[in-house]
Symmetry: C2
């Protein structure tokens, strides 16, 4: 049988990197590749109690089909939390529960992108967002980015140059892969530009609660008067990722379209997972839990930075993130980071070479392809084996 | 803000029927619209035990990220079960876990369908499969179908007439919406035709285990020598739907492509749901559980048929399914089933009018649009309010 796949499958071939990183699944490998939360911080005992409570009190309902929008009390909790933490003004009708925030990205592609449309993104940007959007046949245009976020002039030029720009994808807090955080000024500016050019912003915020120092900043959405900003969120980093519960938040009209698309894609999210998380949030102190997580991750970030200072060449350039799970190291142009990864893997250490994070490859000077991303997995102390 | 949605959103407007059926969510409505399994049959106590066991023994792993393919022991169990029940010869590499079998349908569209491709399907066919495939811009061609399955001559003619036929979507056991089951001969024939015309068959089998009388039949896949048949399955009807765990099974090459697509779509399924189901299958007797379900549903089917015989007009034509959750009633051509639904809703009774199940609308004589589907929800005794 010769299978006739869809054209989109040509964009989805397994990459060299993905193949190399399969090796990181071996238990002896110390992996800085994926941003896995620390499992010793999962509230297992509390989840056990809540699970039993839910099964005892509404087991039939928790194991049954439910609505595509998601469990109403959970949507309400998310809206209120976002309003408090991020300065938004959402209610439950602005929230749809998704299968992790990855599905929120995929459905964003499905709702907005036609073949040939353009996604504007930070340079570099999150690998799995590239995979999600790519399935809809879009092109990527990378916007020049510094330590405070996208450069407004570069963004504005791209908005002028690319009339098919449909989405502007950003991670303003502790970005994956760089660890960088946008300044207040840039947040305001992007809300203004997106409204003026009528382009939808996908504000991805998986790490926002994991701030180890400095002040929390309002979301880009909080400056949005036109409805152009759509937000994603997830319980993966503050609770646990195994449940695959995230969300998309935006104007009610937009959310209704996400609901239509999700209905065809998978009907709904796991019912009991939604009720368990909602019940946990009601009965336990999530802020105390997040404080505990922050404390542990802050120490690990410091240990990673100490190790870079101690063990890496003296002229190594790296980011010092104020939160989140990732930092970014630049090595000398003469170092090929794919070969470096191979050497590391031979010593059971893994990381992701930086070039994977640049989707608009042609826009990158070839000589700069060797930027590596050192992603710090939170469940391991930083360690190098020489 | 004027949102510029993707073109596919034009196919996805909320239908008149969907709006009407929203009314069925009111608790006082007796709904024959959705095929909800009976919650009193969910093994809640056993699930409670297994959940606690899993959290005690591997809580960190169960709440962590895991692989896109799915939990290996569960994939192995599914392969073995299919081999025993359906005459296939799968191993774990042939199985990917999906977010319910609905996601298996959606990903099938994503893997195979380009805009303008053709999906061949039974006439009528499953509503949510239409929604899933439609998102990829395909057209539907309905194949004439009788009590034994698709008519081979009609299928062959369509395969000749539509060179862009990419998928052939079928539900050979207790089809939704008609309740019909394909004969052995037709199963063999479709495997042969799909191989000859190199078209991929999606063999959807959510109800196969729910047989109340007659003999189990081998799957279409069991007659497939070319690798053209891909199977879907689900735990929703034999265990519970709230976990949203289903699967796709096919040649290893095809499954690798589904894995690439699922990675971008949502990374993976819920980890703990997979481990709980896998542990349940290992420690409890699923066959005994299914026997219990069958007994209850068989009685409810009989009650539904008795009620039709007693309360419906004497010349009512209906199917008598040997299993599954649905039966199909034809009313006189003079009855408009949308108006009938409105009258029923006024008395707090719901069903789905038949025309929704014919995706290739132009191929249906307009005078026949009034076929209604009486779907029997398993969690209610049949009841009419006059």
């Amino acid at each position: 049988m010769v299978y006739k796949y869809a054209k989109r499958m040509e964009n989805m071939e397994a990459s060299e990197i993905r193949e190399l990183l399969k090796l990181t699944e071996k238990p002896e490998v110390i992996s800085f590749a994926g941003g896995l939360p620390a499992p010793e911080l999962f509230p297992i005992e509390e989840i056990r109690e809540v699970n039993n409570y839910v099964l005892d009190h509404c087991g039939g309902q928790a194991l049954q089909y439910s609505t595509t929008e998601g469990w109403q009390p959970l949507r309400k909790w998310i809206a209120e939390r976002m309003n408090t933490q991020l300065g938004t003004s959402f209610c439950e009708d602005n929230i749809m529960i998704t299968h992790g925030s990855q599905q929120a990205l995929d459905l964003s592609g499905k709702v907005f992108l036609d073949e040939g449309d353009v996604v504007l993104c930070e340079s570099p940007t999150y690998l799995a967002a590239i995979s999600a959007f790519k399935a809809y046949g879009c092109e990527f245009v990378e916007i020049e980015t510094d330590g405070e976020g996208m450069l407004p002039a570069s963004l504005e030029k791209a908005l002028e140059d690319y009339p098919r720009a449909k989405l502007l994808y950003i991670i303003p807090n502790f970005q994956n892969p760089t660890g960088r955080t946008w300044s207040l000024e840039r947040r305001k500016k992007i809300a203004e530009l997106s409204a003026r050019y009528q382009v939808v912003v996908i504000e991805d915020n998986p790490y926002g609660e994991l701030r180890y120092e400095g002040d929390f900043l309002p979301s880009v959405k909080s400056f949005d008067r036109s409805g152009s900003v759509v937000c994603t969120g997830t319980f993966s980093k503050i609770f646990c990722p195994g449940y695959r519960i995230g969300w998309i938040a935006g104007d009610a009209e937009v959310i209704r379209n996400y609901v239509l698309v999700k209905q065809g894609a998978d009907l709904q999210c796991n019912t009991i997972a939604q009720i368990v998380i909602s019940t946990y949030m009601e009965h336990y102190d999530i802020d105390a839990h997040i404080s505990k997580i922050r404390e542990v991750y802050r120490k690990r970030r410091d240990a990673a930075i100490d190790a870079i200072n101690t063990c890496f060449p003296a002229d190594t350039v790296y980011t010092r993130p104020e939160g989140g799970l990732f930092l970014w190291v630049e090595v000398k142009e003469s170092v090929n980071t794919v070969r470096l990864l191979e050497s590391c893997l031979a010593r059971n250490v893994a990381f992701v070479p930086g070039y994977s994070f640049f989707p608009g490859k042609s826009r990158l000077p070839f000589s700069k392809r060797i930027l590596p991303a050192w992603r710090r997995p939170a469940n391991r102390a930083w360690s190098l084996r020489k």
